[in-house]
Symmetry: C2
Subunit: 349 residues, 2 copies
């Protein structure tokens, strides 16, 4: 990449928009100075917010949009009626080349539907996937798909493996990431047909990743692999189950430290150690679900996040752009489809 | 139930069998005195172990079996060649009426295959399911299926809901359990066809349960419902993901308390409070996966458990038998299929 990167922001998406979008951009500006911003949304609300951040204002262009996508809008409705929404216009900016990436904390379904229609998929990719990264005992791992495709065939899963590995190289900085397919057991005969077929292909393909075969749910938190590949239904349930279990433990921990006088004193002594634990597992640190497989980079921030979380989503988008994520995927997909003409849709095993 | 209950134990199943089986039975004997035991396995190894527990020996009959099912045996192989195994003979005892329930810590796939063949399914139940219960912020919940059926249709899911609710009433003592279908969102249009169809049926059926619609992965740990219904693939991944996340947190907690001198002192002060937290989330407390839907009660203990965990699995089996779990399921399934003759396979919505 050469020159300055421009990041398009949907200023109206998210529970605390546009305030947290502007505040998040300000935090991201300090971390990555070489960036310009396009802010799409209600200028009456955005311009006063920028007044508090003159340095950000200098690198930001506000583009007024009369409309925004409601948090509970159906994707099909948003797609038809949302042509002048802040979300749609921000995606358009990536398509037109005015921005390198787009970040939105708005309606996930609408964002995916619009991004698919406007940006289209990369060569060799049948369907985009939603990916996210999270802390494990060994460091950080990425999982995909998290809900874009409830049912997946072997082709989809193989493509997710390629994209997940490219992500691990781009954003997590791993040279030869390990990849596992989420299953109900590690033996070759376990699971249903698409998983077994995808595994058979991944074992023989020559890709810059190390395929570790099947992994199980408990391997996710252990960090057994850098990239967890699964269909969107299972991935969504697994990620949310992990989040629910994390909440369960945090709450039990809180109650335990409150349960007696000695425990409360113990907490006071251990407080600074626990502050580090809290920082390491802070959900804001892992905010930013990436839509992988599109001809343009689109990052979805959690809708309920604050400025710190939104800034992290911007930084993930920045890394994907600066590290040339999409060029890597294109390059690797061309190896996967060596004679990529019409008729050569599937990979030979 | 009248008279004494007899429990059949596969004395050769599990990593630490037969020692932990005998020691587990001894612990269970103290908790539930009105029980006799049938121990199936190598009498050369079992009889000396019983010598240390005279009270248990007095209520136990050892039945020598020349064979046992290997932990890594394929279910089909175990089924064909394992007729004289401790596992098979213990299941046979339930089928013959010599025992009311069977508990094994052996090979899960083999146990399910044998139990299905020998015991058969209950009237109205197409496929048995594996269920387990676990701690939540609100108390305890049960989830099924955990891996017996990787793909499920709407009939299966409705039957799982009935069985899970009967389990919640029998073992967890809840009068009107709440039931949720695991999905990727709570809106009616979310998810794939079998889940949406099962939800449509559960909304209109007159059953002793409260159907709460769709739940998401994070609702599991929150305890939003008493019974989580899902297919065996998703359930297996969700349960193991929760286990993996729990391990991740325990390990981070351990490291945090070790990370500084003050934190170590803090731990010493909070130790007794943490002992309670540990007891509440001890996996041994939740040991015992139930095979629901068979004409006989079969409980699978974790293979790696110790005597304490195995005793808990025996106690779950005891509760299921004494509370007449199977009679409840039969009774409720008859309501589900009011004209239960040939040809009336499906439920009218």
């Amino acid at each position: 990449m050469s020159g300055r990167l421009t990041i398009a922001l949907d200023a109206m998406g998210g529970d605390h928009a546009p305030d947290m979008v502007v505040a998040g951009a300000e935090l991201a500006r300090v971390r990555h100075p070489g960036v310009d911003y396009l802010l799409f949304g209600d200028e009456q609300r955005i311009v006063p917010l920028l007044a508090n951040h003159p340095a950000l204002r200098d690198i930001t262009t506000v583009i007024h949009t009369p409309d925004f996508v409601a948090a509970d809008a159906k994707p099909s409705v948003a797609l038809r009626g949302g042509r002048n929404s802040s979300m749609r216009r921000a995606i358009d900016a990536v398509h037109d080349g005015r921005a390198g990436v787009v970040v939105s904390a708005g309606n996930t379904g609408a964002l995916m539907a619009m991004a698919k229609i406007v940006l289209k998929t990369l060569p060799g990719i049948d369907r985009p996937a939603i990916a996210s990264f999270f802390p494990t005992l060994r460091g950080e791992s990425v999982m995909l798909d998290l809900g874009a495709n409830l049912e997946c065939d072997a082709d989809n899963l193989v493509q997710f493996a390629v994209m997940g590995a490219a992500f691990a190289r781009s954003v997590l900085g791993l040279e030869q990431p390990t990849v596992g397919l989420l299953n109900v057991g590690s033996e070759e005969q376990k699971g249903h047909e698409p998983i077994r077929e995808a595994a058979a292909r991944l074992r023989v393909l020559d890709l810059p990743l190390r395929f570790e075969g099947f992994i199980e749910g408990n391997d996710i938190g252990a960090g057994k692999v850098d990239v967890v590949v699964t269909d969107g239904f299972t991935g969504n349930v697994a990620l949310k189950t992990a989040e629910g279990t994390a909440k369960f433990f945090s709450e039990l921990l809180r109650r335990t430290f409150q349960s007696s006088f000695l425990a409360r004193v113990g907490y006071v002594l251990a407080r600074s150690a626990f502050a580090k634990l809290k920082a390491r597992t802070d959900p804001r640190r892992y905010n930013g679900a990436m839509f992988l497989g599109l001809r343009g980079i689109c990052v979805k921030s959690h809708g309920g996040t604050d400025a710190v979380g939104f800034a992290n989503a911007i930084c993930v988008a920045y890394d994907l752009a600066v590290q040339g994520f999409n060029d890597r995927v294109k390059e690797e997909m061309s190896h996967l489809h060596p004679a990529s003409g019409p008729g050569s849709e599937t990979v030979t095993v």
